[in-house]
Symmetry: C2
Subunit: 273 residues, 2 copies
């Protein structure tokens, strides 16, 4: 059974998507076709959205599901005119909040992902630049300014995790790749010694690592299961002997890896949302 679900927003649609994905993930046996319609912020765009929704209902033979974060009443009324199941986030939750705060909401559109402050925006950009400049051990001189330094073997997920932490939370995350040289050597590379309390290890299942490395350099020693297995054994031993906390990234998404590390190290977002 296939159901069509529309995530509709007068802003970016990111909140509707995140919420919708969470809810739909609870219904594993149903196949969903998910369609995001962002920036539905004029009656004309709402009328067009309505056409798409109506067409999907006719095609499926079942009414579509609407998960919407639309604030504007006029636009919501237009979408109300066809038969759907509506998960209407604002109507549902704004009223109890207004009551709690003894005030009226401003009902303004697309607030959540608008720039709140220029300073917060620059903080975010600076964190992205920090991650890029301190990626892959390229530079180690700025480690004193890092909030966290991820360590692990090549292709275990360090770079995307650093970039995600920078973009989503404004965290200054550097990363240093532990090579075979580092791993057969006794102890930590010298440049990391002064920053031991900032280190966090990533490890990964050798089978997944070999698959990822094969895409990069097919049929090389670097991507062989033997090599991956050896590096992973070395790196986990190093984490243990140096008492570096670590996480196995194999079954986690980048969001999970990032938020688990932050929770574990007590790191707080630098961005004021």
């Amino acid at each position: 059974m296939k159901r069509t679900v529309f995530f509709i927003s007068d802003g970016t649609g990111i909140t509707a998507e995140a919420l919708g994905d969470s809810l739909l993930a609870q219904f594993e046996e149903i196949e969903f076709e998910k369609i995001t319609l962002p920036y539905i912020n004029t009656p004309e765009k709402a009328a067009e959205a309505l056409k798409a929704i109506t067409a999907a209902g006719i095609k499926d033979g079942l009414r579509p599901v609407l998960i919407d974060t639309i604030v504007n009443d006029e636009i919501r009324q237009i979408l109300d005119s066809c038969d759907t199941l509506k998960i209407d986030v604002f109507s549902t939750f704004i009223k109890p909040l207004e009551h709690e705060f003894c005030t009226h909401s401003s009902y303004s559109v697309g607030k959540s992902h608008a720039i709140v402050e220029a300073s917060s925006y620059r903080e975010r950009i600076n964190s992205v630049n920090f991650a890029l400049e301190n990626d892959d051990g390229a530079r180690t001189k700025q480690y004193s300014k890092a909030d966290i330094i991820l360590v692990g073997v090549s292709r275990c997920g360090k770079t995307p995790t650093c970039l995600y932490m920078a973009l989503q939370f404004g965290i200054r995350a550097a990363n240093y790749p532990l090579t075979e040289d580092d791993l057969t050597h006794n102890g930590l590379p010298e440049c990391l010694l002064p920053y031991k309390e900032k280190l966090y290890g990533l490890t990964i299942d050798p089978f997944q690592l070999t698959a990822i490395r094969h895409e990069r350099r097919p049929n090389s020693r670097y991507s062989s299961l033997d090599q991956c297995d050896k590096e992973i054994r070395f790196v986990e031993r190093l984490f243990a002997s140096q008492q570096i906390p670590f996480i196995n990234t194999t079954t986690f998404s980048i969001e999970e890896i990032s938020t688990r590390i932050m929770a574990d190290r007590g790191l707080h977002r630098r961005l004021n949302n």
Copy 2:
């Protein structure tokens, strides 16, 4: 009046934060202290969270607001035992969805940001690598594989936008910096000519550009208002003469820039969430 708001989740907390930020943004006159408690997935952690919530209520003299995406009933019941305003996403919306789909939800924890498929994860990592390898005009040979190529002057927001599109949506985004040389030259740089339909321009207010560049290279010609103003005038003229669509990034967040470009160009996410 200050109110403490807890975003609580048995997973990453990202959905609760996104939803909560959207809702709270509607109450501009209230000062919020926002606290995210992710991975509240055992009775012990719930009991600890409860302590923090109770303490905040006593300190504020007003009951805290809880915005939670907790799925597990036992954990939710523990949190129910203190006086708060609860915005309880799952209890509110799962029931109508179960009714609509004529089935029970699996009520499993932290589904939304877990890895759905290994292939989707690799798609995402590959997009991040693509953005990094094709950043700042470093390489132009892979432009045929790009979904979009952002063009604009130095420090107008190209790199963070490309990385965001890669991480959030799996879009393959390259970027090419238009230098003064490119801009005083007539027409587009040669390497961009075959990919005109993939180009998307970014522009920015010269005052903001000069502030951003000053952080980078203080008191240089590069960061002077004169220079920024000149480059912006040139680049906007180029976008117009070459009919390249563009967006002014000055008042937009990275989320907005990314989703507006995608909506404008009809780009769809490559990730199956």
